[in-house]
């Protein structure tokens, strides 16, 4: 895709950063607030798509050398391993645990293994969505 648009590029630079932050916020806050792995992943994917739309795909691929096929495979593996690992501690498949910890800056914080599972889902979603859109856009 050859789009040469200065305004779009400048805006995209700022907006992408905001979307990324928002996406990661959604991903991590999903435990207690609206959000979660699927939505977070979709928002992050849309940030990538915006980048690919405003710049041509080669520039972006050079700047962010991510193989999105591998990313989605890694996401599935991460989600799967978060499901399997509890079995090694005598718990059921997919059993998630959580606990409360005192962290330096955040104070009393809840940490839950379900976040690892959500990250896995998010990575899968990012990988698949970006991959599909890239494949179609690069298809001649």
């Amino acid at each position: 895709m050859e789009i040469n648009d200065v305004i779009l590029k400048t805006v995209a630079k700022a907006v992408v950063l905001i979307i990324f932050t928002f996406g990661i916020y959604l991903l991590l806050s999903g435990h207690n607030e609206p959000g979660g792995g699927f939505i977070g992943g979709l928002v992050l994917a849309s940030a990538f798509v915006l980048m690919f739309l405003s710049y041509d795909s080669e520039t972006v691929s050079d700047a962010i050398p991510i193989d999105f096929n591998k990313l989605s495979a890694f996401g599935v593996l991460l989600a799967l391993s978060s499901a399997i690992i509890p079995m090694f501690f005598g718990q059921a498949f997919l059993n998630q645990s959580f606990g409360y910890f005192d962290l330096p800056i955040y104070g009393k914080t809840e940490l839950a293994t379900v976040t690892i599972f959500e990250v896995g889902i998010a990575l899968t979603v990012i990988g698949v969505v970006v991959n599909i859109i890239l494949s179609i856009s690069e298809d001649e």
Binding site: L26, P34, G35, G36, F38, S46, V114, S135, I136
Partner: protein, 800 residues
């Protein structure tokens, strides 16, 4: 975690590590590292021999899916240990051999990863007590076998052979799974030991015999029993170490293991006795008969493996009769067959493993396995000749080699079975020793072909591509160890018998006393000895006049019935299914929507009407604010306007209006998660539309007949009506109990305040996990379809 569970997992973990290690070590052959895995496991299992031989068993269990009664439970008795020792012991020898056999150009990480995958799966099959765990590992062995047969996948024959083996063994595996489920529905348990203890009450159950035959189907396909044996000769396209390991020593023994393991469940019935014995005997004879005519040494060994597997199978069939007698003295007489089966199982692995390695050496050092081109190799490969002689003579049943001992026992067992006072064996039992003897004669003949036509006779240098020379030392170690075992077992058979075979007998034939005899080579002059001498004499004559009588093979059609049946069935299946598929997959989107909506209307609307759920209750409805009405009107206008849109862009934008309005409704109804998802999905979809814009054809008005238009209108209206009716009656109808109480303690259970995510990530995380897997597969599908669509021609050129 129990060490036996670890023993199953270690090969899998090692296989997963190979790709990462491979790049690091570079120059060193990765086989040396892999070798440590089976060797260590073998030593672990050797240390279990004292425990097992004292009559104990080892068991452990961890919960897997406790709600379904599926536990990862481990149970090791004599039978398991024999096979575990074979798997790890042969695994060690085969990996050592393959380090020298494979060329560095082959993809070694793949090879060893598949081999370790197989090893773990096979250990899982023989060490588990849970039927479903067994099934999972069983299919894993089929898959790893498929990968290994197709290791040289640029060859067409390899791919065909791999496909054939997979189709046949998985077909049998499905049957076996159905059998397992029947056993579960009878007894309520997946544990083999529990089923054994209660099966006595269920022998009259209507599922008992179906389960019996389905389990046998799995066993027969896996162990290449007639008529499913056709996959094994084609599996010989695999590298020779694989043939030695999977397709003679271990994987094909899985079916035999299954029959042995299930003998206490189904044994003692006439169906089991006759099916297993007769199928075994037919396989024994047919395999031996086909082996004689082969000109490829590996094909000869393949048919000989089929034949020997039949021999072991038939022995397990005969031995099952002992269960009918229990502790009575007859039990010991017929139980001898089971003992002989176990004994021959071990012996076959030793001599057949050695022979496969010998053939591999010939192939590797001479460049061909064709008997017609070989001859006189004694001058070049003297050490290999020694191993070939030891292996073949053991297979032929000559004394000084372990095959003699188990062959003698086989004759004893077959004579005993002929006199069985049960299952109308009095009138038909004579078949057993006759077939046993005939097949043994043929076995003797092909064993001689293997040795004498390869190593003796005239040397034909013109027919060979390279000058043969003796194999490197590393390649000779493994067959040497096996050869020593062959002779060692002959001189000290009771070491094996007392420590491994006897404890196995106790679990195979519970309640039968004294069926494990003291093995001795000399029994005095009796019928068995005369039969053996007859085998040698007639076999030698057959070999001498091979050229004269071989003509009878010409009478039989070249490619015999079952292979033709298989190919025709496969191609017919392909033709029919492509016919059916192309009849409705028209490539026309409106057709697909017609199917989807029709199905939805019939399934959802129909069940709504039939279940009497069509009741309305507007009493408790909330008041309708003006902005909701307004939004609904906007949506209606947008929807109707799409129908009259003049350009594609307008249609896309109007569709977007619909999507964003739905998101606003979600906000109004306080579903922020859904609103967010809907918004982002709309955005991404719009981007996707923009991208596909170039590829889409010219926008044109649909010109369809009036009839089609009316039909589409009817479908559209009834679709909308169905949705509306369902939405309206949701509030007024309660067909099922509410499930909301299930999530009541969500905060205490998951620690999360967002119940939507608590459901997605915790309560119903299995759904989410599988959905992400589906998404991943769909993504891969899109990627491959688009990126690799030009790949067809390159693939054709790569074919050999």
């Amino acid at each position: 975690m129990h060490f036996l569970i670890l023993a199953i997992l270690i090969p899998f973990l090692a296989a997963a590590c190979i790709p990462f290690i491979h790049r690091r070590i570079g120059l060193i052959n990765i086989g040396w590292l892999v070798l440590a895995v089976p060797l260590a496991l073998f030593i672990v299992f050797v240390f279990q021999i004292p425990v097992i031989s004292s009559g104990d068993t080892i068991s452990a269990s961890i919960e897997w899916i406790p709600s379904l009664g599926i536990n990862f439970s481990i149970f090791a008795d004599g039978l398991s240990l024999i096979l575990a020792l074979l798997i790890t012991g042969m695994g060690t020898l085969v990996i050592l051999y393959s380090i020298y056999y494979l060329s560095p150009r082959d993809s070694l990480p793949h090879f060893y990863a598949y081999l370790l995958l197989f090893m773990g799966a096979m250990l899982g099959v023989v060490l588990t007590d849970n039927l479903l765990v067994l099934y999972v590992f069983w299919e894993l062995t089929s898959i790893s076998s498929f990968l290994l047969i197709a290791f040289w996948y640029h060859r067409k024959n390899s791919r065909v052979g791999a496909q054939k083996s997979l189709l046949i063994t998985v077909f049998g595996g499905f049957g076996m799974l159905a059998g397992f489920l029947m056993l579960h529905s009878m007894t309520g348990s997946y544990s083999i030991r529990e089923i054994i203890s209660v099966i006595g009450q269920y022998t009259d159950h209507s599922l008992y015999y179906p389960a019996l035959f389905l389990v046998l189907l799995g066993a027969f396909t896996k162990s290449a029993q007639f008529p499913f044996h056709i996959w094994l000769p084609d599996a010989m396209e695999a590298p020779t170490p694989v043939s030695a390991y999977l397709h003679s020593a271990t994987m094909v023994k899985a079916g035999i293991y299954l029959v042995a393991r299930f003998t206490p469940i189904f044994g003692g019935t006439a169906s089991w006795f006759w099916t297993v014995t007769l199928v075994g005997l037919v396989t024994l004879f047919w395999g031996a008969f086909c082996a004689v005519r082969q000109t490829d040494l590996k094909a000869l060994l393949a048919y000989s493996t089929v034949s020997q597997l039949g021999l072991i199978m038939s022995l397990f069939g005969m031995g099952s009769a002992a269960l009918h007698f229990g502790a009575e003295p007859e039990g010991a007489i017929y139980g001898l067959a089971t003992f002989a089966a176990l004994f021959h199982l071990v012996n076959h692995s030793t001599f057949k493993g050695a022979l496969f390695m010998v053939v591999g050496i010939i192939d590797h050092q001479v460049g061909t396995r064709d008997i017609r081109r070989l001859g006189g190799l004694i001058a070049f490969l003297p050490v290999t000749l020694t191993f070939a002689v030891i292996g073949s003579f053991s297979m032929a049943g000559l004394p000084l080699f372990n095959g003699f001992l188990s062959k003698e026992m086989f004759f004893t067992a077959s004579i005993n079975a002929a006199g069985l006072p049960l299952f109308s064996a009095v009138s038909w039992g004579w078949i057993i020793p006759v077939v046993a003897w005939t097949a043994s004669v043929l076995t003797f003949a092909y064993s001689m072909i293997l040795v004498f036509q390869t190593f003796f006779g005239n040397y034909h240098p013109k027919k060979l591509d390279k000058k043969p020379k003796e194999a490197p030392l590393g390649m000779l170690i493994s067959p040497a160890i096996l050869s020593i075992l062959i002779i060692g077992i002959f001189f000290a058979p009771n070491l094996l018998g007392d420590h491994l075979l006897k404890p196995a007998m106790a679990t195979l034939l519970p309640g039968v006393v004294g069926a494990a005899p003291h093995i001795s080579a000399w029994h005095g002059i009796n019928t068995e000895l005369l039969m053996t001498l007859g085998v040698f004499a007639v076999g030698a004559v057959l070999y001498a006049f091979l050229r004269q009588w071989k003509k009878i093979y010409g009478i039989l059609p070249e490619n015999w019935a079952f292979n033709v049946l298989y190919t025709n069935f496969l191609s017919g299946l392909e033709r029919k299914s492509s016919q059916i598929t192309s009849s409705y997959m028209t490539g026309h989107l409106p057709h697909y929507f017609t199917y989807i909506f029709m199905f939805f209307i019939i399934a959802a609307g129909g069940s709504l009407l039939l279940s009497g759920g069509l009741t309305f209750d507007f009493a408790n409805d909330a008041p309708l604010p003006a902005y909701e009405v307004l939004l609904a009107i906007v949506m209606m206008i947008a929807a109707v306007a799409i129908l009259f849109a003049k350009s594609r862009l307008t249609a896309i934008l109007l569709n977007g209006v619909l999507g964003y309005s739905i998101a606003i409704f979600f906000v109004l109804f306080r579903a922020p998660d859904l609103a967010l998802t809907q918004l982002v999905i709309e955005t991404v979809t719009t981007a996707l539309f923009l991208l596909s814009f170039y590829h889409l054809p010219e926008w044109q008005k649909e010109k369809s007949s009036k009839k089609t238009k009316i039909r589409n209108a009817v479908i559209a209206i009834s679709g909308g009506l169905t949705i509306t009716l369902i939405a309206l009656s949701v509030n007024g109808t309660r067909l099922f109990d509410s499930i909301s109480s299930y999530y009541e303690n969500s905060y205490e259970l998951t620690g999360g305040k967002n119940i939507v995510n608590a459901i997605l990530g915790d309560f119903r995380a299995f759904d989410t996990l599988l959905e992400s897997l589906v998404l991943f597969i769909a993504g891969l599908g899109v990627y491959t379809l688009i990126r690799l669509k030009g790949g067809k021609e390159t693939r054709k050129n790569g074919d050999q």
